[in-house]
């Protein structure tokens, strides 16, 4: 059905156009010059190689999170706790480096162990939401939100308590690591090739997991109809738990990358809202892994591009979030309208 696929693509582009018009209008409403603002966002994201490398370093955690969320979405789960899973990943990574940096182990090994610790931290935190769902009857949305608040408390407690900087504790985070315990970056840029590789590997792995394995197929069956899958002999809750675990591991990896490649320390807002953005990306790509990477790149570009808005235009940088949000909203609405008003015609013709 190439015809309907084109229709869907057209609808997406129409939604993008509407989202741009909406953003245009609110820019007019606050008295800004929309074209100049849009131009500066594009320039801020693509204007130089160092800016584009910043886009790519934002893309890595975003695509890791999105890839993970595609697994839970496939299992019909709304893993809103992803923010906390990123944070726990960052906390475990920081903890591992703090623990091992004084030892005789080679720094590269310490880094590798720390990243694995981060993945484990995220996976454990996600499993907690999974346990609350399967054994506590708590909807994963509320369990996840609760755990997000808990993880914020834990990181604040660590930053202001046991891990506080010598001298004065502050919102700027823990003491930065030595050069040896940071992921290497490209010459003169802030982008780490290792992080980039991890992001690309995760997308490919998740693509094959969901598209090419029986596990992926069973996961989708559980997501579509848990009861029917259970009757057909698929161990339902085990699959859900595994989906949580894998998604949490990727979320934790995103946190580990934020610590080892971007901030080189633990800061209070280490997740940068990437978890919620990942959920939006998952909805936008309608849970198709192929599109996750380019859409994540688009979102990352918007985020990086609007960083300079407060300086250049005295506007809040949350404009990027507005554009992303209305885009997802219009895509969902367009899809609903298509199914309600146009599907009947398509079926009869």
């Amino acid at each position: 059905m190439p015809d309907s696929r084109w229709n869907i693509l057209l609808l997406r582009l129409g939604a993008l156009l509407l989202a741009l018009i909406f953003t245009f209008l609110i820019l007019l409403a606050v008295g800004a010059q929309p074209f100049s603002v849009f131009g500066d966002i594009v320039g801020g994201a693509l204007g130089s190689s160092s800016r584009f490398s910043n886009v790519l370093s934002a893309w890595v955690p975003l695509v890791l999170v999105s890839a993970g969320l595609l697994i839970t979405f496939s299992a019909g789960l709304w893993n809103i706790g992803i923010e906390g899973q990123i944070m726990l990943g960052a906390i475990f990574t920081t903890g591992a480096i703090r623990l091992l940096q004084e030892t005789a182990l080679p720094p590269a090994l310490v880094l590798a162990l720390a990243i694995i610790a981060g993945m484990l931290g995220g996976a454990l935190w996600a499993s907690l939401a999974g346990v609350m769902k399967t054994f506590g009857g708590v909807n994963e949305i509320f369990g996840g939100l609760g755990l997000n608040f808990v993880s914020t408390s834990i990181s604040l407690w660590l930053i202001f308590g046991p891990w506080k900087r010598p001298g004065v504790a502050s919102m700027s985070g823990t003491e930065p690591f030595d050069e040896a315990f940071r992921l290497a970056t490209f010459q003169g840029l802030r982008l780490s090739p290792w992080a980039l590789l991890l992001g690309i590997a995760a997308v490919i792995l998740v693509y094959f997991l969901l598209r090419g394995t029986y596990f992926g197929l069973r996961l989708k069956a559980v997501g579509k109809n848990p009861r029917a899958s259970y009757i057909l002999g698929i161990p339902t809750w085990q699959h859900m738990m595994l989906a949580f675990f894998l998604c949490g591991a990727l979320g934790g990896l995103a946190g580990a990358v934020q610590v080892t490649a971007v901030y080189h320390r633990l800061i209070p807002a280490i997740s940068s809202g990437y978890g919620y953005m990942g959920l939006m990306i998952g909805m936008l790509v309608n849970f198709h892994p192929v599109w996750a990477a380019p859409v994540a790149l688009f979102f990352a570009a918007l985020n990086i591009g609007s960083i300079q808005l407060p300086i250049l235009h005295k506007l809040d940088s949350s404009l990027a979030g507005v554009l992303q949000g209305v885009l997802v909203l219009f895509v969902l609405l367009a899809e609903g309208i298509r199914q309600k008003y146009f599907n009947r015609k398509a079926a009869s013709s």
């Binding site: 609110i26 409403a29 606050v30 709304w78 809103i80 609350m132 054994f135 506590g136 009857g137 708590v138 909807n139 949305i141 509320f142 369990g143 939100l145 609760g146 755990l147 608040f149 808990v150 914020t152 408390s153 604040l156 407690w157 202001f160 308590g161 504790a169 209070p268 919620y276 959920l279 939006m280 909805m283 005295k314 506007l315 809040d316 949350s318 404009l319 990027a320 979030g321 507005v322 949000g325 209305v326 997802v328 909203l329 969902l332 609405l333 899809e335 609903g336 309208i337 199914q339 309600k340």
Partner: protein
């Protein structure tokens, strides 16, 4: 701590719980009708910002509060249209709106950061306000705090003691039966979701024009309140009385966080401020755990008397959602 500070602190609990109560009762109406409005966190921020901006521009408090209700109703109308008419996932739409409205509030409110605006004044009730203890606790608040007391009982009486309330419960529990008995399910759902949205929207100006007067962008301290209100709705078992208990419990925990600050110097203040959030949501575990299979099996294995006692305990904690919550209704 002197008795006086204790008394003023407790009176403050009623004030700071008032906006949460409006949001929780609005959400209760929406969910009783069968529609989850997950947008609360964004709605409250956007309505807080918009009503503050309008109140600053017009120097009119009433215009501010009406703006808040209008914003809440509009966001709820989007939720209603997409879930009732388009049958989209209520979780998806609600989540997107929660995020988008939040960013929209931060973006549009940028020009009003730290602006001076009007603030709802206190309205002590003559006579009653002068009573010892009771006067300070209940009768020296602003108009909306009094309204929040009234709202608890009015909402409870409406849902459980009137005919339209019976119909409301019907369209959330068994829409098909309500439809057969003459209820226009879709129209009623629209009505309750939008009216509930207006109540939720009022929570915004209650913060920005009263409890936490002003607009301070990301440091307004309102981010997260909406998620808490959603949790309290479940904790409250879709019953305004029990929801009020939840809202006051949350406000007391927040107040204790402030009061205990000097007593517990080892714990950073940032931790105590967010402490009630996880506590509140973890109580959901208690509310829900009785529904699960393994608990039932474990209970069956216990000796008779212990089992009865535990079963009673679980039943009082437990809350059952409206049976058709989250599912669209098709009349044919």
């Amino acid at each position: 701590m002197t008795n006086e500070t204790l008394l003023i602190g407790l009176a403050g609990v009623f004030v700071s719980a008032a906006p949460i109560l409006f949001a929780v009762i609005g959400e209760t109406f929406s969910e009783r009708a069968g529609v989850i409005n997950l947008s609360l966190n964004g709605t409250i921020l956007l309505s807080a910002m918009a009503s503050f901006a309008v109140a600053v521009e017009t120097n009119n408090l009433l215009a501010g509060f009406l703006t808040g209700a209008l914003v809440g109703a509009l966001v709820a109308a989007v939720v209603a249209f997409s879930s009732i008419s388009l049958k989209l996932s209520q979780v998806a739409i609600g989540f997107v709106l929660a995020i988008t409205c939040r960013d929209l509030a931060y973006f549009l409110g940028n020009g009003y950061m730290g602006a001076m605006g009007p603030r709802l004044g206190l309205l002590p009730i003559p006579g009653l306000g002068d009573l010892p203890i009771v006067g300070t606790l209940f009768f020296r608040h602003d108009l909306l705090t009094y309204l929040s007391f009234f709202l608890i009982f009015a909402a409870w009486a409406y849902i459980f003691r009137t005919r339209p309330g019976l119909m409301l419960r019907g369209i959330g529990e068994k829409p098909a039966s309500a439809f057969v008995r003459g209820a226009d399910v879709k129209r009623l759902r629209y009505l309750y979701v939008i009216a509930g949205g207006a109540l939720i929207g009022l929570a915004g100006p209650m913060y920005s024009l009263s409890v936490k007067a002003g607009w301070k962008g990301t440091i307004s301290g309102l981010d997260g309140i909406g998620w808490i209100a959603l949790a309290i709705t479940i904790f409250g078992g879709w019953n305004p009385l029990r929801a009020a208990f939840g809202a006051y419990l949350f406000a007391i925990l927040q107040w204790l966080g402030l009061v205990l600050q000097p007593v517990l110097p080892g714990i950073p203040s940032q931790v105590l401020q967010v402490a009630p959030f996880p506590l509140m949501i973890l109580t959901l575990l208690l509310v829900n755990i009785g529904d699960t299979e393994w608990v039932a099996r474990m209970l069956a294995a216990l000796p008779e008397t212990t089992r009865h006692r535990l079963e009673n305990l679980i039943r009082t904690l437990q809350a059952k959602p409206p049976a058709s919550l989250g599912t669209p209704f098709e009349s044919d």
